[in-house]
């Protein structure tokens, strides 16, 4: 074979690989388009019957009632749903990548149940039924607490995936039993408030909450992209990633800390919206493969699609009731997920 032929073949290989990645990029754009369509639909539907044109006009001009409903009720809810989907999707993808475990999610690591415990304490001892910020603060403090415990144990015992997952699962059981114990002691109203919080709800989403959640969810994002290639290397094993110059324990602890912060931002205002953190990355993996450079943004977009469609369905399906979002995400997410799981043709994990 002469050298010209070699160069051509060489170019060919490179271009084929590039074509594969362009395909993923196009798919990302498609999902972004899909998400935008769902945003528009979510803006136009709701309990009050405003026409589609009025809903969209309300965004740019003052048309009375419609403007107030769109700007004060629907838009904040949509933005919050997007933030939660993005936060849970991204952090789930990061947890699964750095812990090299398909079952890892913010909830298997005990972050969900510790947030719940924080909310329970706030409701029972800090007047959380009246003062909603007490609940938020409680949930926030306890998510950070549980991730500090996981990171602390990892620092002491070595930041391996196994140490972190086992610590997380132990914490999950500890915090859920503590929550149950407190509920056992609580009054009827308190228990009702707790159950409602655990369902998850977007009804209290306002612009102030959006700003705070947005800070916690969006600021860690660039770091996650920064480490995406390192995450790829870590799926091949700690040892070879280290031999290639990756500071494995450092990257793992830093990204777990940031992903916990994202989770916290997603759930402390709205309650435990389970499942998205587990499912969005898996759906993304089935469609995009395991390259974290694409998997992370794809998980964010799919998380957004799932949460927003679940919430839109939840508030329109059974009028005048609003079905709590945590329940709807599982209702539509689980069958969809099982469908993909059965239909998938190749091993993606």
């Amino acid at each position: 074979m002469n050298t010209d032929c070699l160069t051509i073949k060489n170019q060919d290989m490179k271009n084929q690989y590039k074509a594969l990645k362009y395909r993923s990029l196009v798919l990302l754009v498609v999902f972004f388009g899909l998400l935008s369509v769902i945003v528009v639909i979510a803006l136009c539907v709701g309990a009050s019957s405003i026409s589609v044109t009025d809903s969209i006009l309300a965004l740019i001009e003052d048309n009375g009632m419609a403007r107030s409903i769109v700007w004060n009720l629907r838009l904040p809810r949509i933005i919050m749903a997007l933030l939660i989907g993005i936060g849970l999707g991204t952090s789930g993808a990061v947890f699964q990548a750095v812990l090299r475990n398909p079952l890892a999610s913010p909830f298997t690591l005990g972050i969900g149940s510790s947030a719940g415990f924080g909310a329970v304490i706030a409701i029972m001892f800090f007047n959380g039924l009246v003062n909603e910020y007490a609940v938020v603060t409680g949930a926030f403090i306890f998510t950070l607490l549980s991730s500090f415990i996981i990171l602390g144990v990892s620092r002491y015992k070595g930041a391996t995936a196994e140490t972190m997952i086992l610590t997380g699962i132990a914490l999950m059981f500890l915090f859920s039993s503590l929550s149950s114990f407190l509920q056992y002691l609580g009054t009827k109203e308190e228990v009702h408030g707790i159950v409602f919080w655990f369902f998850g709800s977007l009804s209290k989403a306002g612009y102030r909450e959006i700003v705070m959640s947005g800070i916690m969810i969006l600021i860690p994002m660039p770091f996650m992209f920064r480490f995406a290639f390192d995450f790829n290397l870590m799926t091949a094993g700690d040892e070879s990633a280290r031999a290639l110059g990756v500071n494995v324990p450092g990257v793992r602890m830093f990204s777990i800390a940031l992903a916990s912060l994202m989770t916290s931002g997603a759930i402390c205002f709205t309650g435990v919206i389970g499942f998205i953190g587990l499912v969005a990355p898996h759906i993304a993996r089935m469609i995009f493969g395991s390259d974290n450079l694409f998997l992370i943004p794809a998980s964010a977009l799919i998380g957004g699609v799932l949460v927003l469609s679940a919430d839109t369905l939840g508030r329109t399906m059974w009028l005048p009731h609003v079905i709590p979002i945590g329940i709807v995400t599982s209702f539509i997410g689980v069958p969809f997920f099982l469908y993909l799981l059965i239909k998938k043709t190749k091993e993606y994990w």
Binding site: R226, F229, N232, T235, G237, A243, G289, D291, L293
Partner: protein
């Protein structure tokens, strides 16, 4: 040159390696032999800077490897692990691209893709490029991991039992590939080996370890003698020379009473 001087390593109070002196020149293949648990992998881990020796130095081209940044080290020394990742759901191209990590700032550049496709081409792996790593055979996986290490453009290569779990044909193919890489790219190769015959056929020098100490260091003809193999592996052997290479035929495990007698001597 990769120089190991006076290297000792202890796990707690157990001495694993003691006073190892060793040089690896570029273009040369060195096999480290010895029974299980003798410290071969520990020696390799020290060379990679993954663990810190208790005494002694490891220098690469006259620089102490422990004073280098991990990235700098990864540009000079490539590593092929013993076990394949159990699940690795990416393409072969992606797997080899990881070898570019020491040169990648955020995401791989066009040059990195270029290097990877050249490496795949030169190792005759281009037909696998877009296949999933999980779906290729064990022998192919081993070659892909070697390709990943070559994509690092290193001066030295460390391999942990590269012929492990491969069928006979793939063992020969992988060894032949390493021999060519050493010569063509002037890479110094050091590998832990279990197969005595592959080691004598393909190595320039063989190092024998016995309970953490270096028993001998020489050409295959110098090292592969019944006396040395019997003391290190505690087996009775027959050595035949075919095409100038010494081939070992293991006969029996040495009886316990003879082992004790040798220890007393």
């Amino acid at each position: 040159m990769l120089q190991v001087e006076n290297l000792s390593f202890n796990y707690g109070k157990t001495c694993v390696l003691k006073d190892i002196d060793l040089n690896v020149k570029k273009g040369e293949i060195i096999s480290v032999l010895g029974p299980n648990g003798v410290g071969k992998t520990t020696l390799l881990n020290c060379l990679l800077g993954m663990i810190k020796p208790c005494f002694g130095f490891i220098k690469m081209d006259d620089m102490d490897i422990l004073k280098m940044s991990p990235t700098h080290r990864a540009r000079l020394i490539g590593y092929v692990p013993q076990a394949f990742p159990s699940k690795f759901p990416m393409t072969v191209f992606d797997a080899v691209l990881m070898g570019r990590k020491p040169y990648v700032r955020f995401v791989p550049s066009g040059k990195d893709l270029e290097v990877v496709s050249k490496v795949l081409m030169s190792m005759n792996l281009n037909h696998l490029g877009l296949k999933d790593f999980d779906r290729i055979s064990g022998g192919q996986k081993q070659k892909v991991l070697i390709a990943r290490a070559i994509a690092q453009e290193p001066g030295y290569l460390v391999l942990d039992e590269p012929s492990n779990n491969l069928d006979v044909r793939h063992q020969l193919e992988v060894m032949d590939m390493l021999k060519k890489l050493a010569q063509k790219k002037n890479i110094g190769i050091i590998m832990a080996m279990h197969s005595l015959n592959l080691a004598s056929r393909f190595s320039d020098r063989i190092v024998m370890l016995k309970s953490g100490c270096m028993v001998c260091n020489g050409t295959p003809l110098e090292v592969m003698t019944p006396r040395i193999i019997e003391t290190v592996y505690k087996i009775e052997v027959n050595i035949n020379r075919i095409n100038g290479y010494p081939y070992t035929i293991p006969l029996n495990p040495m009886p316990e009473n003879r082992i004790h007698k040798e220890l007393l001597n």
